[in-house]
């Protein structure tokens, strides 16, 4: 996909903007068919079918242990699926490794934050830019012109990406010493740096207070609007999910129990039962 993004342009976008419904690109970018994985005898995820539109924000919700993160791990090939197929932009991802999947266009964040703790914030983002730069090891050691040119570009690009969360000033801070919320944001920036077409966010609002969550919510929408990418998020914060997701998928015990718009999900009896338990029979 073409990728144009400048700092000026970002500032011009009003925060919280939502692409009008008719402009939403619903042609699928990510599609799973009968996806499933077993751990020993346990069907951790089974018969998982999902289609994500090119610029859709989708939510993946469900009680703890429902298999949400496992779905992310399947999509990024941290686990190889036992059954089913994953199509990314119409291409089968069978047999690909995590690293190849990222280069095909899926980037992710992690539930338990996984930053490069001993490196600076800027270096974390630059590592995300790894595959967009091409100078060789030798060019790096000998500091050939290609090194200087690409490093300069990487530096500027990293700062531009950090500006999404207004983190430019933290560029030189050691990532491991950032406060929790900033670490989650940095993970998103790092994932974005890989220039994905699908961004998977695993509990982006975990540990944030309501005002931080509200801010994050706006930023997620902004990211979608600017980068024109699909975003799938796992989240327990229902206000976030209901407010920004165009489509929601509910998992319980590794199975999809409901799919639909936020309104449909909120009214779905199976979902209510999964979250609140069955009403006592009278």
């Amino acid at each position: 996909m073409s990728f144009t993004f400048e700092r000026g342009k970002l500032a011009a976008v009003p925060s919280g903007s939502v692409i009008p419904e008719r402009d939403l690109d619903k042609t699928p970018i990510l599609e799973t068919r009968h996806l499933g994985i077993d751990f020993g005898g346990l069907h951790a995820v089974q018969d998982f079918n999902l289609t994500i539109g090119r610029t859709e924000i989708a939510g993946l919700i469900g009680p703890n242990g429902a298999g949400k993160t496992t779905v992310f791990n399947l999509l990024t090939k941290v686990y190889q699926p036992t059954r089913g197929t994953i199509l990314l932009d119409g291409m089968d991802t069978a047999g690909k490794t995590t690293e190849q999947i990222n280069r095909m266009g899926i980037a992710r964040t992690f539930q338990n934050i996984r930053l490069f703790n001993n490196l600076s914030v800027e270096d974390n983002v630059k590592i995300g830019l790894h595959n967009q730069k091409s100078y060789s090891m030798l060019a790096g050691i000998l500091r050939l012109p290609s090194y200087w040119k690409q490093e300069k570009a990487a530096h500027e690009r990293a700062l531009a990406l950090l500006s999404i969360f207004e983190m430019q000033d933290m560029a030189d801070v050691r990532a491991g010493s950032l406060p929790y919320g900033a670490q989650r944001r940095l993970e998103i920036v790092r994932a974005l740096a890989t220039s994905p077409s699908v961004l998977l966010l695993d509990e982006p609002a975990a540990g944030m207070n309501p005002s931080e969550t509200a801010e994050l919510m706006e930023t997620i929408v902004t990211i979608r609007d600017i980068f024109q990418i699909a975003i799938v998020l796992i989240e327990h914060d229902m206000s976030l999910v209901m407010n920004i997701c165009e489509g929601i998928c509910v998992l319980n015990f590794g199975q999809v129990i409901a799919k639909g718009s936020p309104e449909e999900i909120q009214a779905n009896p199976a979902v209510i039962e999964a979250y609140l338990g069955r009403k006592k029979e009278e």
Binding site: T69, N73, V78, F110
Partner: protein
Amino acid sequence: MEFLSYLISGISLGSVYAIIALGYTMVYGIAKMLNFAHGDVIMVGGYMSFCAMSYLHLPGWVSVLVGMVVCTLLGIIIEALAYKPLRSAPSLAVLITAIGVSYLLQNSALLIWGANPMSYPPVISGTLHLFDGQLSISYVSIITVTACVLIMLGLTAFTSKTKMGKAMRACSEDKGAAQLMGINVNRTISLTFAIGSALAAIAGVLLCSSYPTLMPTTGSMPGIKAFTAAVFGGIGSIPGAFLGGLLLGIIESLAKAYISTQLSNSIVFAVLIVVLLVRPAGLLGKYVPEKV
């Protein structure tokens, strides 16, 4: 018949490795550290029993006990002084400290007993002759193998049946959780070092009885070999250490006899590499993938 005698000497050597590896694997399991000083505790055990026999003229079995008592104390002291303050330090810092302890023990021995190898008096002498003298097995070998099997069975029973043994397993799974369950983690770790060091003393006596040259570096190579054996069998696993030790001894003995004396260690290590490539956690170890 020739093959059989090489095999038996391999089993005997392997049993010594296995006894050391049992101590190694227990210490590793609980302290998660490569205790490079373990091999030198073997050497101390050897010297102690040597002194008890040669200078104090004590009977063999008493000198074994002397060696065990001294090494047990030594193990507890080393743990308390050198390793306990580093419980939360990076593992490499502990590794280097262990190397420091190893140098300390070797050089102390060098100062006390000198660099010249001493010839170790046999604790048990005599040989069993079978098949009209075609096959001879020394009593030391028989005792070594018996001791090894008994120790392995004893440790297995200890860790699965007794309260202290269960505490030990709990600590090696998760120290924090064990502490919350009211287990005294520090005492459990000390006990593990004590057991490991006592086993090292026994191994020292048996090793020196089979290969009667004793010098300050006597323990180094067997220590490394036993560590290899523990990894071979799956580090942290008691039956694994037993199996790994035996296999290592047999491979070494047969390689020496049939392939090359010069390259026997290389062959042992090459087998280790192949095993780890096929089973990354050793023969009986559990491979635990990282959770994402």
